[in-house]
Every structure is written in C-alpha cells, then in structure tokens.
Symmetry: C2
Subunit: 117 residues, 2 copies
DNA sequence: TAAATATATGAACAATTATTCATATGAAAG
DNA sequence: CTTTCATATGAATAATTGTTCATATATTTA
C-alpha cells in the first residue's frame, strides 16, 4: 500500500512517511545540528582542535604552531567556544584553551574514518 | 623545560610541539575532513539524511516530504553523493537514493549527543 | 600611572554557497 | 518519433563566512 507523494508512479509507503515525520527532529534542533557541523567544516578550526588534542594551549602558541595570525586564531577560537567545543582558562595575560569534552575527538575520528575509507 | 614560541613567558613544552607536528594529519587530509563536515553543515542536507535513515527514497518524494523544490533537493543530493554519504540507484525514470554506509548515522548521532547535552 | 604584552573585536573584502528559475537530459509509454 | 515525467544542471542572486588590518580591552610590571 503506497501513497502518491508527487510522481505518477507510487514510490513511498505511507508508513515510511509517518516514520520520517515522527523521527525527524524539529527544525530548531536540525538547524543547531547543522550549525555544529559547520564549525567542524573549516580546516583552520580542525587544525586548532587537533592541536588541542595534545594539550591545552594559549592563543599565541596555537598561532605560531599553525603558522597563522593571532587574530585569525582568536576569531576561530571564539567560534569553537560558542559551539562549546573548547573552553578557556585565564592565567594572567595568557588564556589557555582546551577541548571541552570527548565528543570533539569522537566526531573528528568518525569523520576521519569516513574519508580514509 | 619549555620553549618560547611567541610570548615573553614560556607557555608550551617542546615535546608537545613535536607531538602536534607528528600527529597533525597533512594539509590535504585536514582539508578533506573539513570538506566532509561542511557537507553535514546544512540543515537541508541533514534533513535529507534523516529521511534516508528510514528508507531509500526518490528525489521527488524527498522534495515533497521536506517541502522543498525538486531542484534544491537534486543539487543537495549531488553534494551528498560526491561526499559519498549517499548512493543512487536508477529504476526507470526514478532515481532512488540511500545512505551509503553507517558512518553517516554515527556522525550525526555524535553531533546530536553534543547539542543535546 | 605608563608601558608592554596577550587576547579580543569591529569593519571591510574576497570567496564560498544555497536556492531559484529556466532548461537540458534520460527513460518510458503511446 | 513524440510526449510525458523524473531528474540533473547552468546561471544568477542573496547570504554567509574566513581572513586581514587596525584598534580596543585586560593584565602585569616598571
């Protein structure tokens, strides 16, 4: 038993339609999810995260290590921080950044597995 | 024992620098990884993937189900396909799309866990 | 308080991208 | 062969985004 969604021929089963409508998270959640992945979708930010895999670091060290300007790194750390992927700790003039949790590593590793296939 | 990368004060240990330099994937890999996440970084594509979690579907069904134009869906399926996240199967006039592997589900679930925290 | 240093931020610019519209391709049916 | 239908695609547009430059903020030290 199928329903006609759009085509001449019947393609999709009605219970599939209901299942999708039931399981599809609401628009706001989907938007947030896309926003999260957008944060991973820049190689500068990926590099920063890889650096932080090893240890917490201050802004200027990351900049030096990755050969990028302090400003660029600072802007990107702001993006990473507002996505709660990194957290900051101030020590005098210096601000140390570190991964906020292990999700970051898991997500990146899953992605890496996919591209290395 | 620290080295002075950029600041007056010594921040980062020399062995950390070596570790990062050793573990950091090459630029091309990092770029590919960012490109992969960029694909997940759009809510239309996320919706398409969620729909395909349930069953394979043809273009016009996805369009109808998600209330988007056939053209928009087709363009996005092309992006998903070139990232090897979905695969296509032709049956007459109709083209059915489905997830190409389980990585997709894993990556999305990891992301979802992060934002629901 | 003034100078020095680490970081943050606003504006501007170039580059990328998602959607729409119009149209092309490809397959089936008459 | 022509029509019809499903899908793909190219061009155009609007919107988003990463970097740079200049400058602001915050902290320490002289």
């Amino acid at each position: 038993m199928c329903i006609d969604l759009c085509c001449e021929e019947k393609c999709i089963h009605e219970d599939i339609v209901h299942k999708v409508e039931h399981d599809l998270p609401n628009d706001e959640t989907l938007y947030d999810l896309a926003e999260l992945f957008k944060v991973f979708g820049d190689s500068t930010r990926i590099k920063i995260l890889y650096a932080l895999f090893e240890a917490e670091m201050c802004v200027c060290d990351i900049a030096e290590l990755l050969n990028l300007t302090q400003s660029a790194i600072s802007h990107q750390l702001r993006v990473l921080k507002s996505a709660k992927l990194v957290k900051a700790r101030r020590a005098g003039k210096t601000v140390f950044y570190s991964l906020s949790d292990e999700h970051v590593r898991l997500i990146i590793n899953q992605g890496m597995e996919h591209i290395l296939e």
